[in-house]
Amino acid sequence: MPAMTMTEKILARHADKASVEPGDNIWVDTDILMTHDVCGPGTIGVFKHHFGNGAKVWDREKVVIIPDHYIFTEDKMANRNVDTLRQFVKEQNLPYYYDVGTDKYKGVCHIALPEEGHTRPGEVLFGTDSHTCTAGAFGEFATGIGNTDAGFVLGTGKLWLKVPPTMRFVFHGDLPPYLMAKDLILAVIGDIGCDGATYKAMEFDGDGVFALNIEERMTLCNMVIEAGGKNGVIAPDQVTLDYVNARNKSKKPYQVVNSDAGAKFCFEKVYDVSKLEPVIAKPHSPDNKATVSEVKGTKLDRAYIGSCTGGKMTDFRAAARILNGHSVKIDTFIVPATSEIAKGLKLESINGQTLEQIFLAAGAKIGEPSCAACLGGPSDTFGRLNTPISCISTTNRNFPGRMGHKEAKVFLASPLTVAASALAGTIADPRDCLQ
């Protein structure tokens, strides 16, 4: 059998083939299909249209529905969409639904999936959201799809895919305390461009990756889509397995898959992380890279810390290190990705102060767990840029209009850089705050 990358091996196994090659078109079996309030109603519509109003989903244990986008809003249509999900869950008697207004409510789907034990090595996960690639951090094939594809999966459990060639990114060295996974992935996207991985898998490897905790690995995989990547993936190690085994739903068995020795990569780039600098993506593209030192002093109106890529415990811990005992100079919004993280802000402390107390004492505002202003949303969304202001954010996209107003300027950076900038009111270097 030819040597394969882990992406190729996972896809081959799910297509019931001994081997596959990049470029092969195959039908694969789905382990988990995830949808949310923005694409769920359309997906359900496609499913009912093609399979009939009384049709049942292919496997109710494999469907996960997580409302997260437009939750804390008065918008009637947005609330109607959550009702559509609720109705469908009832009709289908789906076990994995994290409803708004109940103690099951989670928040951002990409973080809720692993927290609730729906991510496992070796599996195939499809989600109606481009950041579904986040779950590659658990050693699985995970990618975003549209409503039609998701409707097809709901009825059949299958989807056709073209096997992507794999690019390999190797990180060596010790990550300095002023850098985070966000700096690494922004550096990669800046280097290869926002189309540099189009149709390709991005595998992250090296001691610099395996030294990262699971949340930081999720940040790396989350943003492969910002380079056009089909999926991001990291081989599972003990850190992965400890996380997965502690949460795995119904103790479902899984198989760890690694790239073979001699597997072919279509591209390879090696980074020494000890030599990198804090990185920022300037408006209006995630590949518009600058070092923080190059744009230091740029005036800002707002800081935002949240989202699937920048609203995890590791992100808030980092921000709190900088904000502790200081006051922000600009409006600063804190949005925990999930309810579990929101609880964590109340439980975890630094020198006797909880993270929540640190943020409130610094003058930041804390919102409810959801996608919130990462993608703009209805006009009453917490933190939304309703006017053409400048914002520094830990989120993953800064396209025109992404966070609301189409003339607003969004700078993407690590939670350390965003927190340092919130204190200065201008783009600031975390190295100046971490003495």
Binding site: H69, I145, G146, N147, T148, F152, K158, S379, P400, G401
Partner: protein
Amino acid sequence: MQTTITGKAYVLGDNVDTDQIIPAQYLTYNPSLPEEYKMFGKYALSSVPPAQSGLPKGHVPFHTKDEFLSDYQIIIGGKNFGCGSSREHAPIALDAAGIKCVVAEFYARIFFRNSVNGGYVIPFETPDRLCEQICTGDELNLDVAAGLLTNVTTGEKWKLKPLGEVTPIIDAGGIFSYAKKVGMLKQ
């Protein structure tokens, strides 16, 4: 598949992402409901920066005569058209606005899949940088079988890339019709 596509060109640049094609605030409409589907046409391309809207001049509105339908029928784009969010509402918005096809240098993969699998707009690829050669408002004629694009306004002609392996899905009208045709789904 249609044999000929004709219409007026609306020209955009590189990296037109799906937030520009349909901003997130309009994703509350449900595309499976016909009366809401047409709303995506109304807001199609509403977050493209004015200077990039309708090249080469820019500042060209996508709609003037009709609230829902665009004055244009063919989008010409540059590189990486449809990048970003996986929202299927993006090709839906173009379809609802009356766009028949997009001709770009290459596509972000989820937009490409959604366009093909949902049967909304045909995503043609061009080896030429047409977004710098065609002007918004030019009358175009596309011979689909021959892959030949003619600028009726100027007389210029370009050969597009073959649609390749997705042709049977486009021919069938989307992934469901294709799966029925090949026996994967019951008729």
